[in-house]
């Protein structure tokens, strides 16, 4: 992790603990490199994308990895998260709106709401998010 440039690349074990540690690193990185970027929105996007990869993509298998790249350039925050899972049918979930009483199924909705652009690769194991600030 190089905190001195506006790009951050990490390779995380597929655990929720690693997500927490990375979120701590992100707060430091954001404050030092792009404090104009809204802290809550950016961290929520990171959490949702990483947690999806860890929990659904890799089934919390610590032997698998999640790769994350953050980049800030010209008022845009770009985030790419790739996992070693088999992916999922994101097309089926894209427009799904969780019924109010559901206890899950809001992750993609949150990504779409807080990012200006959300793109999955065809397999569904890489997501690219862009947020303007």
């Amino acid at each position: 992790v190089n905190l001195g440039i506006c790009e951050l690349r990490v390779n995380l074990p597929s655990t929720l603990e690693a997500v927490e540690e990375f979120c701590k690193e992100f707060r430091i990185w954001r404050a030092g490199n792009c404090d104009e970027l809204g802290a809550f929105d950016a961290e929520l996007l990171i959490r949702e994308a990483l947690t999806n990869s860890v929990v659904h993509g890799c089934s919390c298998d610590p032997d698998k990895h999640v790769y994350c790249t953050l980049r800030v350039k010209k008022g845009r925050f770009l985030m790419v998260v790739k996992d070693e899972g088999r992916g999922f049918n994101w097309r089926a979930a894209w427009d799904r709106k969780a019924p109010v009483s559901d206890t899950s199924g809001r992750g993609i909705g949150i990504l779409r709401h807080y990012a200006n652009r959300v793109r999955f690769n065809p397999e569904g194991n890489t997501v690219t998010l862009m947020k303007r600030f």
């Binding site: 929720l16 603990e17 701590k24 961290e43 949702e48 009483s101 559901d102 206890t103």
Partner: protein, 114 residues
């Protein structure tokens, strides 16, 4: 410094009502102990639960799911409906328009913020 561990302090139930004050982040990794605490409270007879989020800084989709789960459990017990609309902006997505419908139906579970 942000507190990444979810601390909870439950007020002693009175007349089947209780308040649970949360501090930290309501996110995936912090949920298991809180889920156990809520189950324990419902099992002990709590029917009206207020969740105080005033000191919570982050809520993710899993945190929302836990709140909805608590709501569903309480609803099955026949608790009375109530809702507190005072939710801090940065406790979104609770307060964002896109997700507030999930909580407009929240009856037995009160969400308290600043």
């Amino acid at each position: 410094m942000r507190n990444n561990e979810m601390n909870e302090e439950a007020v002693i139930p009175e007349n089947s009502k209780a308040v649970i004050q949360l501090e930290g982040d309501l996110v995936s990794i912090s949920l298991p102990p809180l889920r156990s605490k809520m189950r324990e409270m419902v099992g002990a007879g709590v029917r009206h639960l207020t969740v105080d989020l005033a000191k919570v800084q982050m809520v993710d989709s899993a945190g929302l799911g836990l709140l909805m789960s608590a709501h569903n459990s309480l609803r099955k017990t026949g608790g009375a409906a109530s809702r507190d609309p005072r939710i801090r902006r940065h406790s979104a997505p609770l307060s964002d328009d896109a997700f507030s419908p999930a909580f407009q139906c929240v009856g037995e579970l009160r969400i308290k913020g600043n």
